[in-house]
């Protein structure tokens, strides 16, 4: 208990609170703008935080993450376009509520239930993270190898469209991770005599390139002014928003279902690379199945909208649990945060719970503080927040490109990092145009070292044998799970065909 009180004191320091507040405000603006995701915001602002004390810097990133996910619902309500992928399910009922003249209620629900989801998932994280980390301490190289493989394969498995278009960027990321000194014997690989490549390709410039410059270039290339004009006309219709608070009775009647959904969202969020969009759609679908009024879902159901908001932020606790306990990302933002923690000199994973236990507690308490900030700021600005959508895209593009360049350089005062960031930005742009998922590439680069080092350690222990795949029960379970992840779409296809026949 004592360490929690010390943690609370650390989190309530004025500088930590200030940076958390700045993060919440940045997240609110960026999340509300369609096309700008929390991942982009966290990637761009990560280099900036290295100049702050770790607690303050991380508070800012946690603030951006939580706030951007919640504010993604604002554009879902007003213009039927999710601000972030996680708020996709919010468009199902949020926009219909707005059309009914209940935009204020929808904006209020978005704030309150996002915070409820965030807080419940944080409590779940506080309860389960420590036992999971204690269990994971027993993991050896083979378990870590299969865990990293699970992380990469899940990202590929859930990548939109074809598995092949997830696998290729994944392998490309793994190839990039091999550049530099090898993690076991220190042999130089693919450095071409360049000192800049000796330590490998830095993760943060790659993240900034893909999610910053790459995304901005993609938006410039695919801009559809006709759609923008339609959205603008939608906003200028100036539909009345009305009140923002639900009736007390209605609010309390929604709580049990939302509490249940928060648990489900936390669980889905904990699955490596499951992502907020998938989690919120699954939660919305499950809530519809158990609802007393499923026919109202998708037509402006207050209940349906509240569960999608709860699910949005509910996944964050789960994703953070996976990230902190196992060192593998629960989603794209947590992949960036792993890079941030590494830059702070911390290695996410079970050892972090012993070596940096106080910082783990700080992170958990920051989640609570940021959610409280979102509640206050979100309610105070509920109606005004819709105005964020008036920010011009051109302004955002210029800002993103300049901040990406400055951020990539500031990390190591290295011009080479900017070149890497720009090249990867172009690769990210091509990936998006050609419908490849850039996520697996990032994950491949991030987990490549962990995969290689543990594969080689495990093989060294068994003198080159691959017996650890079937002799170690946890490894075997994870390998079976990975195989099932890839085989599942084909199995369901065969079963469907059989049924049809």
């Amino acid at each position: 208990m004592g360490e929690w009180i010390i943690g609370l004191q650390a989190v309530l320091q004025p500088n930590v609170l200030l940076f958390a507040l700045i993060g919440v405000l940045i997240g609110l603006i960026i999340g509300a703008l369609p096309g700008l995701s929390g991942t982009m915001a966290v990637a761009i602002f990560t280099p900036l935080t290295f100049w702050f004390p770790p607690a303050a810097g991380f508070a800012m990133l946690i603030g951006i993450w939580n706030s951007s996910v919640f504010s993604g619902g604002i554009s879902a309500i007003i213009i039927n376009t999710p601000g972030t992928p996680a708020s996709i399910a919010s468009t199902f009922d949020g926009y219909a509520l707005y059309k009914k003249g209940k935009g204020g209620i929808a904006l209020g629900i978005n704030v309150i239930f996002s915070v409820i989801g965030g807080l419940i998932s944080t409590v779940v994280m506080m309860l389960f993270a420590f036992p999971i980390a204690r269990f994971a301490v027993k993991f050896g190289p083979s378990e870590y190898f299969s865990l990293a493989l699970l992380g990469v394969s899940m990202m590929v498995g859930v990548s939109n469209g074809s598995v092949l278009k997830g696998l290729i960027p994944g392998f490309l990321g793994l190839c990039l991770s091999t550049i530099g000194m090898d993690p076991i014997s220190g042999v130089k690989r693919f450095t071409f005599g360049s000192t800049n490549l000796m330590s490998g390709i830095s993760f943060i410039p790659v993240m900034i390139g893909i999610f910053g410059v790459g995304e901005a270039l993609y938006q410039i290339y695919t801009r559809n002014q006709k759609v923008e004009e339609a959205e603008s006309a939608e906003r200028s219709a100036n539909m009345s928003l009305g009140k923002i608070f639900l009736e007390k009775k209605e609010f309390f009647s929604l709580l049990p279902l939302n509490a249940l959904i928060a648990f489900v969202a936390t669980f889905i969020g904990a699955i490596p690379a499951a992502g907020g969009d998938i989690a919120s759609i699954i939660c919305w679908g499950q809530a519809k199945r158990i609802s007393k009024h499923p026919e109202e879902y998708g037509k402006g159901s207050v209940e349906g909208f509240s569960v999608s908001c709860t699910a949005n932020n509910g996944i964050i606790g789960g994703a953070l649990t996976t990230m902190l306990c196992l060192g593998i990302p629960g989603d794209a933002v947590s992949a960036v945060l792993i890079g941030s923690l590494m830059m702070y000199g911390m290695q996410p994973g079970p050892k972090m719970f012993t070596e940096n236990r106080s910082f783990v507690i700080n992170i958990m308490l920051m989640m609570v503080v940021c959610n409280i900030m979102i509640l206050v700021i979100g309610l105070l600005t509920a109606k005004a927040s819709a105005k964020v959508l008036n920010v011009k895209k051109e302004l955002v593009w210029v800002s993103v490109i300049i901040l990406s360049i400055v951020g990539a350089y500031a990390l190591n005062n290295n011009y080479f990092d900017v070149i890497i960031m720009l090249i990867v930005g172009l690769i990210g742009f091509v990936c998006k145009i050609a419908e490849f998922s850039p996520g697996p590439m990032v994950l491949g680069l991030l987990l490549g070292n962990m995969l290689e080092a543990n594969l080689r350690r495990a093989m060294t222990l068994t003198k080159g044998s691959l017996s650890f795949f079937y002799e170690r029960p946890i490894t075997l379970c994870m390998i079976i799970f990975i195989v099932l992840t890839f085989a599942w779409p084909y199995i369901t296809k065969i079963v469907k065909k059989e049924k049809e026949n």
Partner: protein, 148 residues
């Protein structure tokens, strides 16, 4: 899948072959069974080549000839903005390397605002405020040295 995937597959296959050729001299496994530095790159580059070959095949048999790069008529202006953005960034990098960062960053902001058709008034006010804040916060407060 589209025909374009065939060309993308060829590029990724070439990248894979490059990594594979460069990894082979590092060896797969040592005599005592201990894996060498080349094992992992060989495995992943092999995986990349294999997937690329499947992509080339899928692209080859695809009947969808519409390019990923295809733009509607009303989006043609996007192409100009895209190339201008790239050109602006390239010139910025050169000015930064050979002249000075401060000059380069002001140039980039003015150029991009011009390329995106923001008004000159907005352009200058935005550049003055935004870039000055960036320079002050990074150079003066965080003490980042932008000289390269």
């Amino acid at each position: 899948m589209k025909k374009d995937d065939m060309y993308i597959g060829i590029v990724t296959a070439l990248i894979g072959i490059f990594f594979l050729i460069k990894s082979l001299p590092l060896g797969l496994v040592e005599k005592n069974g201990i894996p060498s530095a080349g094992l992992f790159p060989i495995l992943v580059s092999g995986g990349l080549i294999l997937c690329s070959l499947v992509l080339i095949y899928k692209g080859f048999i695809s009947r969808d000839t519409i390019s990923y790069w295809h733009l509607m008529n009303f989006q043609k202006n996007n192409l100009k903005m895209f190339w201008l953005s790239l050109a602006g960034i390239l010139v910025f990098m050169l000015i930064w390397k050979y002249i000075h960062f401060t000059f380069a960053i002001y140039f980039l902001s003015v150029f991009l605002n011009w390329a995106y058709k923001n008004s000159w008034k907005f352009n200058f006010i935005f550049t003055l405020i935004f870039v000055t804040i960036i320079i002050i916060s990074f150079e003066k407060i965080m003490l980042v040295q932008f000289n390269v």
